[in-house]
C-alpha cells in the first residue's frame, strides 16, 4: 500500500511551495493516464480496494492508479475514473479490470458495458461531467474529493494547496483575513449557519495569551456523511482551513474532534497532519513567518451531543460531553477556559478557496443571504444515492429529481427529511423551497449538517417522527430537565400513537411538550429535538389522526394495526403454531386449518417462525 508518501523536503517559503507544486504537476503530467479508484464509504464497502489491487497488478507504462476520496455517485459504485479522458466506469468489479486495462488504457477505447446508463432514457454517458447527476453540481468543498490521492500531500499542493495559507500568513494581517471571510458571507456549515467571520472576529478580540481553534468533525446526524467524505477525500483542505483560522485569531494550537465511528477519517487526518509537519507546513515559523501552529486529532467516544460546541469542548477536556449555558461563548471562554473557535469540517474546507479566490468570487455563488455552496448526503428511497454539492438556494426539487433522479422504483415522493434529528420533514408542496438557512428555518426544518433522506409513499411519517424521537431521547445527555424529561414523555406518546393506544388528548399534550422542550432546553439538541414531530404534525397531521381516530396506518407500516392471519389454503393443520403460541390464541383441529384469535394475539410472531408451510402472515 502506498501511503504516507514522503515529500522528502521542507517547504519554508512561498517560492518553495510553488516549486514543489510545479514538480508534482510535472510528475503527474508525465503519466499519460491516471486511474482514480473511488474509496469513499460506499465503494469501499463494495470492494474498491480489490479493484485498486487489480489495477496495480497490471503494470502499464506511464499509467498511475490511485485511490481517491468519494466521487459522490455512491448508487452506482464502485466507481473508476480515468483521466485526462474523464471516462467513468460504474459498478466495476475486480474481474472487469483486465478489460479496462486492455481497451481503455492500452487502446484508448471506451468499454461500453461499464458506462453509466440513465435508467429512464437509456442514454449512455461515458464522461463524468455529462452525467445528469454531476452536471448540475458546483464543487467547492468537494473540488478535490475524488480527484486526488488523500494520502499524498503533493497532490494537494499540486492543486494550489496551502497557497491560501501562504497568503493568509504572508500577505494578510489577521484582521484582513477575517475581513475577507466576513465579506464572503460564509456561514457555519454544521447546521447553525452562524457567520464564520463574526465568530473569528470575537475570538480575535478576546483577551488571552493562549487561544485555540477546534474543528468539529463529530458528524453525528444519522444520514449525513459529507464531513466524513471531506476528511477521507481531502484532509489537507481541512487542515489548511484550520491553520488559516488559527493565524487569524492568534491561536497556536488546534484540535480536530472526529467521531469514533469514522476510523478511516481519523487515519487519513492523522496522516495529513504527519505529512504537513514533515514538510514544515505545520509546526514552528510556517513559511518563515512568526506563525506557529500544531494540531492534535482527538477521537470522540460515541455521543451525539458532542456535536454541540460546549459539549465537544468538555469531551476534549476529558469530561462527560455535556453542554453548558452560553454566554460565556467559547470565543471568550472555550477550551480550558481560553478563547476558542469551533468550526465544522465543511466550513473549514471552504475557507482556503475563499482566501485564494477572494470573497467576491464566493459571494457570486449561491443565495444572497447564504452565499456559496452546500454539500448534501442524498439517501433513502432515492434513485441516485450520493454526495452532492450545489449552490445554496438550489431548490429541493432540483436536488431530489434533477440530481437524485427521483424516487426509486417509480414510487411517489412523500417527503424529504432534512437536517437529521434536528431537522424536519418537508412534503411535496414544499419541493420548491430553496435550500438555504433562512428558507428552511421558515419551513420548520434546518440545513443541519446536510443529511437529506428521501421518503416515498410507503413510509409512515408518524413512525419516522417516532424514530427520531427515539434517537434524541437516547442521546439526550440528561443535564437539563426539559430535554431529559420532555423527550422521554414525547417518545412515550409517539409510541402510544404507533401502537394505536393514543387519544386526541395525547396529541395536544405532545404538541404542548414539544414547544416547552423547544423553548426551554439548554442546548441545540433539545431545542431542535421536537422539529421532526412538529413538522410532521404540521404537514402530515392527517396521518396522526388516522393512527389515533381511525386506528389505521395509511402507509401500512405500523404493525400494531396489522394482524397475523393463517391462510386456510396453505395450512395443513399440523398444530405446531397452536402449541408454540404463548397466548393460546390459536385454535383448530389437527389436519384442519387453524385460526388466530386477534383479541388474544400478542403479535410476537412466534407462529410465523414455527410454521413450516409459510401459511401465516402479517396483514
Amino acid at each position: 500500500m502506498e501511503t504516507a508518501k514522503k515529500t522528502g523536503m521542507t517547504i519554508g517559503s512561498r517560492d518553495e511551495l510553488k516549486a514543489y507544486a510545479a514538480k508534482v504537476r510535472a510528475e503527474m503530467a508525465a503519466q499519460k493516464k491516471r486511474v482514480l479508484v473511488c474509496t469513499g464509504p460506499g465503494c469501499l464497502a463494495n470492494g474498491a480496494e480489490k479493484i485498486l489491487d487489480a489495477f496495480r497488478s497490471h503494470s502499464i507504462e506511464a499509467v498511475g492508479a490511485t485511490r481517491t476520496g468519494c466521487h459522490g455517485f455512491c448508487e452506482v459504485g464502485p466507481l473508476v475514473r480515468i483521466e485526462p479522458d474523464d471516462v467513468v466506469y460504474v459498478r466495476v468489479k475486480p474481474e472487469d479490470v483486465a478489460e479496462i486495462v486492455e481497451e481503455t488504457l492500452r487502446k484508448g477505447k471506451v468499454v461500453e458495458r461499464l458506462v453509466y446508463r440513465d435508467p429512464d432514457t437509456g442514454r449512455t454517458y461515458p464522461k463524468e461531467s455529462d452525467i445528469p447527476f454531476y452536471a448540475s453540481q458546483t464543487k467547492v468543498a468537494l473540488s478535490n474529493c475524488g480527484a486526488i490521492n488523500p494520502d499524498d500531500i503533493g497532490e494537494y499542493i499540486a492543486r494550489d494547496g496551502y497557497q491560501a495559507l501562504a497568503r493568509a500568513v504572508l500577505d494578510l494581517s489577521p484582521d484582513e483575513a477575517i475581513e475577507e471571510v466576513l465579506e464572503s458571507g460564509l456561514r457555519g456549515r454544521g447546521g447553525g449557519g452562524f457567520p464564520t467571520g463574526r465568530k473569528w472576529m470575537f475570538a480575535r478580540q478576546a483577551k488571552g495569551d493562549q487561544k485555540y481553534v477546534v474543528c468539529n468533525a463529530d458528524e453525528g446526524d444519522p444520514g449525513a456523511f459529507m464531513d466524513r467524505c471531506i476528511m477521507e477525500g481531502d484532509p489537507h483542505s481541512v487542515l489548511e482551513g484550520l491553520a488559516i483560522a488559527a493565524s487569524a485569531i492568534g491561536a497556536d494550537r488546534g484540535y480536530i474532534y472526529v467521531r469514533a465511528e469514522y476510523p478511516l477519517a481519523v487515519a487519513r487526518m492523522k496522516n495529513a497532519v504527519k505529512q504537513a509537519k514533515e514538510c514544515g507546513l505545520l509546526g514552528a515559523n510556517i513559511f518563515g513567518s512568526d506563525f506557529s501552529f500544531d494540531v492534535t486529532i482527538k477521537e470522540g467516544a460515541g455521543a451525539f451531543v458532542c456535536g454541540e460546541e460546549t459539549a465537544l469542548l468538555a469531551s476534549i477536556e476529558g469530561k462527560r460531553g455535556m453542554p453548558r449555558p452560553r454566554p460565556p461563548f467559547p470565543a471568550n471562554e472555550g477550551l480550558f477556559g481560553k478563547p476558542t473557535i469551533i468550526n465544522n469540517v465543511e466550513t473549514l474546507a471552504t475557507v482556503p478557496a475563499i482566501i485564494r479566490r477572494g470573497p467576491a468570487w464566493f459571494r457570486a455563488i449561491g443565495a444572497e443571504s447564504s452565499p456559496g455552496t452546500k454539500t448534501f448526503a442524498v439517501t433513502g428511497q432515492v434513485a441516485n444515492t450520493g454526495l452532492v454539492e450545489v449552490p445554496m438556494g438550489a431548490t429541493l426539487r432540483d436536488v431530489v429529481f434533477k440530481i437524485g433522479g427521483g424516487v426509486i422504483g417509480g414510487k411517489k415522493f412523500k417527503a424529504a427529511q432534512i437536517g437529521g434529528p434536528s431537522g424536519g420533514c418537508l412534503p411535496e408542496e414544499l419541493l420548491d423551497t430553496p435550500l438555504d438557512y433562512d428558507s428552511l428555518k421558515k419551513a420548520g426544518a434546518m440545513v443541519g449538517s446536510g443529511g437529506l433522506v428521501i421518503l416515498d409513499e410507503g413510509t409512515c411519517m408518524v413512525e419516522v417522527a417516532r424514530f427520531f424521537m427515539h434517537f434524541t431521547q437516547r442521546e439526550s445527555c440528561g443535564k437539563c430537565v426539559p430535554c431529559r424529561e420532555g423527550t422521554k414523555r414525547m417518545l412515550e406518546i409517539m409510541e402510544k400513537i404507533v401502537a394505536g393506544r393514543a387519544t386526541l388528548e395525547d396529541l395536544d399534550t405532545l404538541e404542548q411538550i414539544a414547544w416547552v422542550v423547544k423553548e426551554s432546553s439548554l442546548c441545540a439538541l433539545g431545542k431542535t429535538a421536537p422539529n421532526p414531530v412538529l413538522t410532521t404534525l404540521k404537514y402530515f397531521r392527517d396521518e396522526y389522526l388516522a393512527h389515533i381516530v381511525d386506528k389505521k396506518c395509511p402507509a401500512g407500516v405500523c404493525t400494531a394495526f396489522k394482524s397475523y392471519v393463517i391462510h386456510p389454503e396453505l395450512c395443513k393443520g399440523c398444530g405446531k403454531c397452536r402449541r408454540t403460541c404463548p397466548a393460546e390464541a390459536i385454535t383448530g383441529e389437527t389436519k384442519h386449518p387453524h385460526v388466530i384469535d386477534a383479541a388474544k394475539c400478542l403479535k410476537c410472531g412466534a407462529c410465523v417462525e414455527a410454521c413450516a408451510f409459510g401459511a401465516i402472515s402479517l396483514e
Binding site: 460506499g42 455512491c74 458528524e219 449525513a224 467516544a301 460515541g302 433513502g380 444515492t385 437529521g420 443529511g451
Partner: protein, 165 residues
C-alpha cells in the same frame, strides 16, 4: 502464570498506556479507548486503578466511562456486529436485518452477547455508509445492501470459520 502474575501483567499494560498519554484529565478518554481496545471492555478494577493513577475521583472516571456509547463495562463477544439504524438505513429496512441476526443467534430481551462470547449484536446510529444502506459492520468490516438472509449468511460464514479452528 499464577493469578497474581496475571493481575500484575494486566496493570503493567495499563501503566504503559497511562505513561504514554500522561496524567492530565484530557488524556482520560484516549486512555479508556486504548484500554478497551486491549481488553475489549473496561473491567471495573481497572477503572478504579486508572482513577487512582491519574489522581481523579473514581466517580469521575466511571462517569466518563458510562457516558459514552463506545465504552462498555461488560465483556463483548469476539465478533461485534453493529447494524446501522441511521435514517437512511432505517427507511431501507435495517430493523428486519437486526432482528433476523438476533433471532438467529438466539438473543432475546436485554441480551446483546451470546453466552459463548462469540457475538455481540448492537445497533449504531450511523456509520456514514448511507450509500450502501442498509449497512452493518463486523469488527470494522463494512457490509452493504443487507437483507435478513444475506446478514444471516455472513453470520453462518463466521460461525463455520470458527468451527473449523
Amino acid at each position: 502464570m499464577t493469578p497474581v502474575e496475571v493481575a500484575q501483567r494486566k496493570f503493567e499494560r495499563v501503566n504503559e498506556i497511562i505513561e504514554e498519554h500522561g496524567r492530565e484529565q484530557s488524556a482520560l478518554i484516549p486512555i479508556l479507548q486504548e484500554v478497551q481496545a486491549e481488553y475489549r471492555y473496561l473491567p471495573e478494577e481497572i477503572l478504579t486503578y486508572i482513577a487512582t493513577a491519574m489522581g481523579l475521583s473514581v466517580a469521575t472516571v466511571f462517569g466518563v466511562a458510562t457516558f459514552y456509547a463506545q465504552f462498555s463495562l461488560e465483556p463483548k463477544g469476539k465478533y461485534v456486529v453493529r447494524v446501522c439504524d441511521g435514517t437512511a438505513c432505517h427507511v431501507r429496512h435495517s430493523m428486519p436485518v437486526y432482528n433476523a441476526i438476533r433471532s438467529k443467534l438466539g438473543l432475546k430481551d436485554g441480551k446483546y452477547t451470546t453466552p459463548d462470547m462469540m457475538f455481540t449484536v448492537e445497533t449504531v446510529a450511523c456509520l456514514g455508509a448511507c450509500g450502501v444502506a442498509p449497512a452493518m459492520v463486523i469488527n470494522g468490516e463494512v457490509y452493504g445492501k443487507m437483507t435478513p438472509e444475506a446478514a444471516c449468511m455472513i453470520i453462518d460464514t463466521l460461525l463455520n470459520r470458527d468451527g473449523d479452528n
